[in-house]
């Protein structure tokens, strides 16, 4: 028998998935669409389903000295209004989906869906977020780039649930997010770009850049970033062309129904050039 379980607590949810067979669903804005069978028919969840979105114990935003802890089922719309959520993340959320979808969409869902175009993912890569997973037998916490293993794939087992996203608090003097899509709302990114820098007395102390929808996963090149720390702003600007060339080999987009690789690569490198030019 295919079981569909609506747990009242996280403990009940973990027990329900302990057999390693069922799927889990958060707000449903991706899964209900991916599995739809048409008007009047049930969506297709042949292995059973455990419904997590109404678990109130996973809806919270807590700030500690060095990090922000976001409960996995916190809707995006609440993050948009929360005083502790960093402005760069709010800028990104404001361009995700639509007001109606943001009432039920979650960052945890964006992670589990693992689309290379997932807009919150570019932020999680940029700021080195950690993701906490829990199963009936224990918990583990991994950086976002280890959680996501490829397009639409993650390292989560079928006994695990994403319970928390941890966002380290950084100081930046410059932040940038740009999403390229055909419509204000509900657009899946053709390309996306996020960057941040901390500049003190004309010296680059922190420099980070992430590109979405141009590779199998979000692209971030820490080795390039490391070589740029400690340089003067004017030297960085002079080196702009060579920095872009170093990034170019990592930007490997595809042609699909939303855009093509030439456009995606051109716009991504132009956005990087513009970010460097405006530091």
């Amino acid at each position: 028998m295919v079981e569909h379980i609506v747990p009242a607590t996280l403990a009940e949810a973990l027990e329900a998935i302990a057999d390693g067979k069922k799927e889990v669903i958060a707000g449903g804005t991706d899964l209900m669409v991916q599995r739809r069978k048409g008007a009047g028919r049930l969506p297709d969840f042949p292995d059973g389903l455990v419904y997590l979105f109404d678990l109130d114990e996973l809806k919270y935003v807590r700030k500690t000295a060095d990090a922000l802890h976001i409960g996995a089922m916190t809707p995006l719309e609440e993050l948009l209004k929360h005083p502790h959520v960093p402005n760069l993340l709010k800028t990104i959320i404001a361009e995700m989906a639509s007001p109606a979808l943001r009432r039920v969409a979650t960052i945890a869902g964006n992670i589990a869906n693992a689309s290379p175009a997932g807009d919150s993912l570019i932020y999680l890569y940029l700021i080195d977020a950690n993701v906490k997973l829990i199963s009936a037998s224990g918990e583990r916490s991994l950086p976002i780039h280890e959680i996501i293993t490829g397009p639409k794939t993650t390292c989560l087992t079928k006994q695990e649930i994403i319970v928390e996203i941890t966002i380290p608090i950084h100081r930046f003097t410059h932040e940038r997010f740009k999403k390229i899509g055909p419509r204000r709302s509900d657009a899946i990114s053709k390309a996306s770009f996020a960057a941040a820098a901390f500049i003190e007395e004309d010296i680059i102390r922190d420099f980070r850049v992430a590109f979405g929808a141009v590779s199998a996963t979000v692209v971030r090149c820490k080795d390039i970033e490391e070589t740029l720390k400690g340089t003067r702003v004017d030297a960085l600007k002079e080196a702009s062309r060579s920095i872009i060339e170093r990034y170019a080999s990592h930007i490997r987009p595809i042609d699909d129904q939303r855009s093509n690789k030439v456009y995606r690569k051109t716009v991504s490198t132009n956005l990087l050039a513009d970010f460097i030019a405006t530091l």
């Binding site: 209900m32 669409v33 048409g38 008007a39 969506p43 719309e77 989906a97 009432r103 509900d186």
Partner: protein
């Protein structure tokens, strides 16, 4: 199958239906509330919008499981209220309704917006409606209608 209880258009209801059923189908088929439309079925057009705990949600990608304990209002439940009348009158006067299929969702979006922000700027109205598609009006008349409703219905929100 367990029954799922919630408040629909102000009245407590109980239904035995599969928890993965789309709220949209339950509203239209089980409760006969055909004012909630199916457009894209993918959460992108807003024709299926309803109010859940008084905030706009797309019912086409909302599983019935999450209806439990919520207050759900469709266009039929909102119709007849002074707020509805103010929005509907302004939509009529500004030409915000043509073929009409997007209209219930547009009115739900307007109510969700005005309930949170009774005096929205034009930009805030455009953001509030950004998840609702209209293929007839070109949007300007709908935006004007909501500005007019907010002004003429001042004090209702």
């Amino acid at each position: 199958m367990e029954s799922i209880e919630f408040v629909l258009n102000g009245k407590p209801v109980s239904i035995r239906r599969h928890p993965s059923a789309r709220l949209l189908d339950v509203l239209r088929e089980d409760f006969g509330l055909k004012g909630t439309k199916e457009g894209c079925g993918e959460g992108e057009c807003g024709a299926c919008a309803v109010l859940i705990d008084h905030r706009i949600v797309n019912s086409c990608c909302y599983p019935l499981a999450y209806a439990r304990g919520k207050r759900i209002t469709t266009i039929e439940g909102f119709a007849g209220t002074p707020r509805y009348e103010a929005i509907a009158r302004a939509m009529g006067e500004e030409g915000g309704v043509q073929c009409g299929i997007c209209t219930p969702g547009m009115i739900i979006a307007a109510e969700s917006l005005l309930d949170e922000n009774p005096k929205p700027s034009e930009e805030e109205i455009r953001v509030g409606l950004s998840g609702n598609l209209c293929r007839c009006t070109g949007y300007n008349m709908i935006v004007k209608a909501i500005r007019r409703a907010a002004k003429e219905g001042e004090g209702l929100w």
